[in-house]
């Protein structure tokens, strides 16, 4: 699909220049070492893919076969493991994760882009201060805030609700999102907005009709990053949510394991279901992800 093209082009563009020269230089020695390195690369790929492959294969096995025939393919393919996993709890974790992730994305993008708009278009002492305030947020980590947040959310009566996750996720994702979007906003040419003002557009109009539409690529990046974070976050999800009906996938899987006892096939099926959305996201949107990495370079 489209994403592979862009990717190839990217590499193409980078590597075109020296390509023919290098072909000429290839001799036997280089070929041997090239193949050795290639072997190493493939081995590494195997090391990463095999456990995942095993997870998928084993999710279609019965407990006995997982336990006794670790390496073999299932003699009988238990596709019903997926149905069981779905109906025994994964569906509710999945929906919770979906609600939390989508809400976080919408709020982060909306609030973050609004802040970035102010930060990129206005200058004053207060705005400089705000920028430092927001960038400083990158330094904070969830571990340190855990206990005070727990107290605060309890006091606000938000503990054990989805809001506990959504609000904290949004707060912790905002700094990076604002930095990414602000940098992009700064690159938008001024004459565009001037024409908009002549058109009779207000500040809000400039934000919603010019800046936002022009920034779709970076917003996609912010969405990918936020989705990845919110879908996989574990610590807050474990501490702030007790109730099984409200758990998201990462913390819910722990309950799922305890509840299932030896139903390993079903557990593994649940694990596969939990991973699929993010892998799809990776394959479809990798170019946005790479862009974010190159501009943000802060671990999710």
């Amino acid at each position: 699909m489209t994403k592979t093209n862009t990717n190839e082009e990217y590499v193409e563009y980078n590597r075109n220049t020296g390509f023919f020269k290098s072909i000429a230089k290839l001799n036997l020695h280089a070929k041997v070492s090239k193949n050795l390195i290639l072997l190493g690369l493939l081995f590494l790929a195997l090391l990463i893919l095999y456990p995942l492959f095993w997870m998928v294969i084993s999710s279609l096995k019965s407990y006995d076969e997982i336990y006794n025939k670790v390496w073999s393919l299932p003699t009988e393919w238990h596709f019903e493991n997926y149905l069981t996993a779905w109906s025994k709890g994964i569906s509710s974790y999945f929906i919770n994760s979906l609600i939390v992730t989508l809400s976080t994305i919408v709020l982060v993008v909306l609030i973050g882009s609004m802040a970035a708009f102010t930060l990129s278009r206005y200058k004053s002492r207060w705005i400089d201060f705000s920028l430092i305030f927001i960038v400083g947020g990158l330094m904070m980590n969830p571990q340190v805030a855990l206990i005070p947040l727990f107290e605060m959310l309890t006091w606000m009566d938000l503990i054990n609700t989805r809001w506990a996750l959504i609000l904290t996720y949004v707060a912790f994702r905002l700094p990076l999102t604002i930095i990414l979007i602000r940098a992009y906003f700064l690159s938008i040419p001024k004459d565009l907005e001037e024409s908009a003002i002549i058109d009779g557009c207000s500040e809000f109009g400039i934000y919603s009709k010019i800046y936002l539409p022009l920034s779709i690529p970076i917003i996609m990046t912010a969405i990918v990053f936020t989705a990845f974070f919110a879908w996989n976050e574990f610590l807050f999800a474990t501490v702030f949510i007790d109730s099984d009906v409200l758990k998201t996938i990462p913390s819910g899987l722990m309950n799922f394991r305890d509840a299932l006892r030896t139903d390993w096939g079903v557990l593994l099926a649940g694990m596969v279901i939990a991973s699929i959305p993010m892998i799809i996201l990776l394959i479809l949107l990798q170019k946005y992800l790479v862009r974010g990495l190159s501009e943000g370079s802060v671990k999710g």
Binding site: N14, R15, T17, G18, F19, K34, I37, L41, L44, A45, L47, I48, L49, P51, M55, W71, I111, A115, T118, Y122, I127, S130, F133, I134, M139, N141, Q143, V144, A145, I147, P148, L149, F150, L167, A171, F172, C201, S202, E203, F204, G205, N232, F234, L235, I249, P250, S251, L253, M254, R257, L268, M271, A274, S275, I279, Q286, L293, S294, S297, V298
Partner: protein
């Protein structure tokens, strides 16, 4: 409708403030306030359900110095940092260089995605999967060792006091290597091509090109990645919490798991806050260095 949106806000001062306010509020409430609150909490003794907090001065910090578990945990965090440096900074840089080499331009895009897949998968899925891999009875690792005749090396990885922390660390490397590699790839792609072409004309070998062009050019990224890795190692929670819960005994305890245990299992919220303060101090040092360095980087 469209005009309506445009004329609602005329005053220029209102919009910028209104736009940035939600971000400032969210960060203030959910990031900065908890930080201050955590410092405050460190001087008190309280539990989740106690209505009052008892002032104890520096007692919690004094206890921090006597607590043997803190030492074990801190050493484990250091081990985490050192191993991660080797794999995620040194090895990842080499891997990125190889992947960006024109010899592998056909396989590189696919490999990049493969190496990146574990990054996108939830840590709880990965930890559960590695629970299967390290399982002493049917685990993939031990049955693989038996398969190749090394059954003497097959030990109950997570139940062995010496091996457990390394088993946990190994899983982290497996998961994160693709992430750091991708950051390096992005950095390498930004290196001006002329530099390499000049080196080609000089007839420089691959190793020299790597040492004299790639390494100096990605120095800043290397530095940032080092800090990301070290900060991450100081904070690590999910992996040991899910795989071993710090056991057997305290042998795979880390600072964050200790904090969680003290606060949410043993209900010593005050002491847990002191541990969190320690974690904050450790990471703040690295974060300050990071900010300083990225500033100097921008001056170029």
């Amino acid at each position: 409708m469209r005009e309506g949106v445009c004329v609602i806000y005329r005053k220029k001062q209102v919009i910028p403030t209104l736009f940035i306010l939600p971000s400032i509020l969210l960060l203030g409430i959910f990031i900065y306030f908890p930080l201050v609150q955590n410092f405050y909490n460190s001087f008190f003794d309280f539990s989740v359900f106690s209505p009052t907090k008892e002032y104890i001065g520096f007692a919690a910090f004094k206890y921090l110095l006597q607590d043997k578990v803190i030492v074990i945990a801190f050493l484990n965090n250091i081990k985490y940092a050192v191993v991660s440096m080797v794999f995620q900074v040194a090895f990842a840089l080499i891997l990125a260089t190889i992947l960006e080499d024109k010899l592998f331009r056909r396989v590189a895009p696919a490999l990049r995605i493969i190496y990146f897949i574990p990054v996108m998968i939830s840590i709880s899925v990965i930890a559960l999967l590695f629970g299967f891999i390290y399982n002493p009875q049917m685990g993939l690792l031990n049955s693989f060792l038996e398969l190749i005749g090394l059954e003497n090396f097959a030990i109950p990885w997570l139940g062995n006091a010496t091996a457990s922390i390394y088993a946990v660390i190994a899983m982290s490397q497996w998961q994160s290597i693709g992430f750091i590699t991708m950051l390096f790839i992005v950095a390498i792609q930004k290196i001006p091509k002329e530099l390499y072409e000049a080196a080609d004309i000089d007839g420089a070998g691959k190793v020299r090109r790597f040492l004299s062009i790639t390494v100096p050019q990605v120095k800043e990224t290397m530095f940032v990645n080092t800090l990301i890795t070290i900060t991450g190692a100081m904070l690590v929670f999910n992996e040991p919490y899910i795989l071993t819960n710090g056991g057997p005994g305290f042998s795979s305890m880390t600072l964050s798991v200790h904090m969680y245990q003290q606060g949410f299992v043993k209900d010593n919220m005050g002491y847990a806050s002191a541990v969190a303060t320690l974690i904050f101090a450790l990471t703040a040092i690295f974060a300050l260095i990071q900010i300083k360095v990225s500033r100097t980087g921008k001056d170029e």
